[in-house]
């Protein structure tokens, strides 16, 4: 006879206001195999957990049902708690009477209580038949791949390599540096970007732990965290790299000028984008049409950004700052010149950032005009800008020699295809999705694939460097483990029943099932299995099973409530 403990949580009033927890405890106490049942205000709190541990010792419990919230919320908490009391953690289950009961039946107290009792009944039957399982330990390949050789990729690679792990850095072009290599200087101190970058590039190329593959593209990713096989396409043919983790740092592309026809984008030679102006700042300030040094320059912020009609509703985040920098650099080069900036809002959040913009206004006499530009056209050899100043409430006209459009940052044009290749998610724009917007900002939803730089969302160089270092720390954290620990509640095959028909292989969405290369059976790669149960349903012989979700358990659970 089992000795199961049932612990009912009030979750404050989340459960107790709807479900009669005392009655659930009474009913649970009478269920066959239950040796102890009680209820408590917050079972997940320290006193709640110690209540469970004490009960295990006092009543000699051999299984625990925590009747509370979703297992997604606290299964790990309670399994750790029972393990501390010497019980196998897989002999502890959650009966969810919050999300699936009290929250959805707030006006039906009687029925909700009856339903809660039934839910408990099923989980008691399940725990009675739960096996004592041991977490799986999988080997780790302690070598990382970084995709993208811009500042994000190089920073991640250097951090991982410095920790002593080999890195293979995949770059699609024949040089390192990415977009930063096209910048003249960086805000806030006008430090020359090429100088900063050259040092990084040298470190990467000379690092004994870093191997750089130029003109290379990732075309396939197989395997799982700790054991990936990545196919890289190169001019000399494909090659396969065995790595344990991947950092994706594929950066960005500028919004095409041609998509801004009302600003003369692609039509008027003296209307250029920010990256082109960076180049002009490096190579000599001559405007494209006739090589003259521009005496009046208009900068247009939010060119494409914050503009859902142009397909980009987000703020590109770096433009306010680099426009201020460009306007100041322009004034340094052309002291008699005048710079104008049209803006909707000035977003200069960051240490020293707003002071920098204020300096542009006060010390460099950059004239900021509040309003989005509506139209840009040619008049003779000059460029006319129609905007407004909403502060005085007047429409404006400005004749300039050069217009610089601070165009939106788009994810790299290859990002969406790469996201599919790497089995990671991307948002509607093609920026890679982080696992959690607040607490897991450098992880993708695919274990072992990490994100760095603008590929994940617009950000400037210091933010990129910080994110790249964080992604590297995640990789190092993974590599520092002895082995990958994985939940043992995955699929397995009863070989005597298996006829190797392949139904499970066809139905598995995670590629975890294969027919054995020699023997006539199907196999499970437990590292890839996500416990979805598709193979269990598909198997005509009931050979595919999931640990602790055995047919005998499911039938027993159904029996007590039907």
């Amino acid at each position: 006879m089992s000795r199961i403990g049932v612990f009912i949580c009030h979750c404050g009033i989340n459960i107790a206001a709807t479900v009669d927890v005392e009655r659930v405890a009474e009913e649970a106490g009478r269920m066959p195999g239950v040796a102890f049942a009680t209820h408590y205000k917050y079972m997940c709190s320290d006193p709640g957990q110690s209540l469970i541990r004490q009960a295990i010792a006092e009543h000699g419990l051999d299984g625990v049902v925590v009747v509370a919230c979703s297992p997604a919320m606290h299964e790990r908490t309670f399994r750790q708690a029972v393990a501390a009391a010497g019980l196998n953690p897989y002999r502890c289950e959650m009966a969810n009477i919050r999300e699936q009961c009290s929250w959805v039946h707030q006006h039906e107290r009687e029925e909700a209580t009856a339903k809660a009792v039934d839910i408990v009944r099923t989980m008691v039957e399940k725990v009675k038949r739960d096996e004592e399982l041991v977490p799986l330990r999988l080997p780790i390949v302690r070598r990382a791949m970084v995709v993208g050789g811009g500042i994000a990729g190089m920073e991640a690679a250097l951090n991982i390599a410095d920790a002593g792990y080999p890195v293979v850095l995949v770059e699609r072009e024949d040089r390192l540096g990415g977009k930063m290599a096209r910048l003249s200087s960086t805000y806030l101190n006008f430090e020359a970007a090429p100088g900063l970058l050259e040092e990084k590039i040298r470190q990467v190329l000379e690092h004994s732990n870093i191997q750089v593959l130029f003109n290379a593209r990732v075309t396939k990713l197989e395997g799982y965290v700790g054991n990936f096989a990545v196919t890289v396409e190169m001019s000399e043919g494909p090659r396969t790299e065995e790595v344990g983790a991947v950092v994706v740092a594929t950066g960005w592309d500028p919004y095409p000028l041609e998509r801004l026809p009302e600003y003369g984008g692609g039509q008027i030679p003296d209307v250029v984008d920010g990256l082109t102006f960076e180049e002009m700042l490096r190579t000599g300030l001559q405007r494209p049409s006739d090589g003259r040094v521009p005496q009046e320059v208009v900068f247009v912020q939010c060119a494409g950004s914050r503009d859902p009609e142009h397909g980009v509703s987000y703020c590109s985040k770096v433009c306010c700052m680099y426009v201020a920098k460009q306007a100041m650099m322009y004034k340094e080069r052309v002291p008699g010149g005048q710079a104008y900036v049209f803006y909707i809002d000035i977003r200069s959040g960051g240490k020293g950032y707003d002071e920098f913009v204020q300096r542009a206004m006060e010390e460099y006499d950059v004239l900021y005009l509040r309003g989005k530009v509506s139209k840009i056209f040619r008049r003779g050899d000059r460029v006319v800008v129609w905007g407004s100043d909403t502060l005085v409430g007047r429409p404006l006209e400005l004749e300039a020699d050069l217009v610089v459009l601070a165009t939106a940052m788009l994810p790299s044009r290859e990002a969406l295809a790469l996201a599919q290749t790497l089995h990671i998610q991307a948002d509607q724009y093609g920026f890679y999705s982080e696992a959690h917007p607040k607490l897991r900002p450098v992880e993708s939803l695919t274990a072992g694939v990490f994100l760095a730089g603008v590929g994940q969302g617009p950000k400037d160089i210091p933010e990129t460097v910080a994110q790249a270092a964080a992604a590297a720390a995640k990789v190092i954290q993974l590599f520092a483990q002895d082995a990958m620990v994985q939940e043992p509640t995955v699929a397995y095959v009863i070989e005597d029943l298996c006829s190797a028909c392949g139904a499970c292989v066809a139905v598995c969405p995670y590629g975890a099932r294969e027919i054995h290369p020699v023997r006539p059976i199907a196999t499970v790669n437990p590292a890839l299995c996500q416990t979805c149960g598709a193979c269990v349903v598909a198997c005509p012989n009931k050979a595919s099973r999931i640990h602790n979700w055995e047919p005998v358990q499911v039938l027993a659970m159904a029996d007590v409530v039907i």
Partner: protein
């Protein structure tokens, strides 16, 4: 009518005069609007105090037609609160100065109603000479 913005206007004699007479750096104002928000007589003005300095920044001489520069009582509330330390009443004074120098007096003393003159404190009349008369 579209207002033209140009180097010539931004660096015009008008802007230089306003800066010289007021002693203020016009571009120090970042148009936060706090002066307009706290001005006790803003409701009587045809243009907000922050718009007056904005037009001066842009070299828009039509600011001289605004009633605001005459209504401003130089109470200094805005100066006390300006986050950038701009002395807006000095700017208003500069604009009145420029207006008076180039045009007629704002007030014709002979046309003041005698009853009003009798009732006004002497200090107000002396102050009025200074503020409104050429």
């Amino acid at each position: 009518m579209r207002t033209t913005i140009s180097v010539a206007k931004l660096r015009s004699q008008f802007v230089r005069d306003v800066e010289e007479i007021s002693g203020e750096d016009l571009l120090a104002c970042n148009q936060c609007g706090k002066c307009s928000a706290g001005c006790p007589v803003a409701a009587a003005m045809d243009m907000l105090p922050s718009q007056v300095i904005r037009m001066a920044q842009l070299g828009m001489t039509e600011v001289l037609q605004s009633r605001t520069i005459w209504i401003c009582a130089s109470c200094l509330t805005c100066v006390a609160r300006c986050p950038k330390g701009v002395d807006l009443p000095r700017l208003m004074e500069a604009l009145r100065e420029i207006s008076l120098r180039s045009g007629a007096s704002e007030i014709d003393l002979d046309r003041l109603p005698p009853d009003l003159v009798r009732e006004l404190p002497q200090l107000a009349i002396v102050g009025g000479f200074r503020k409104y008369i050429k």
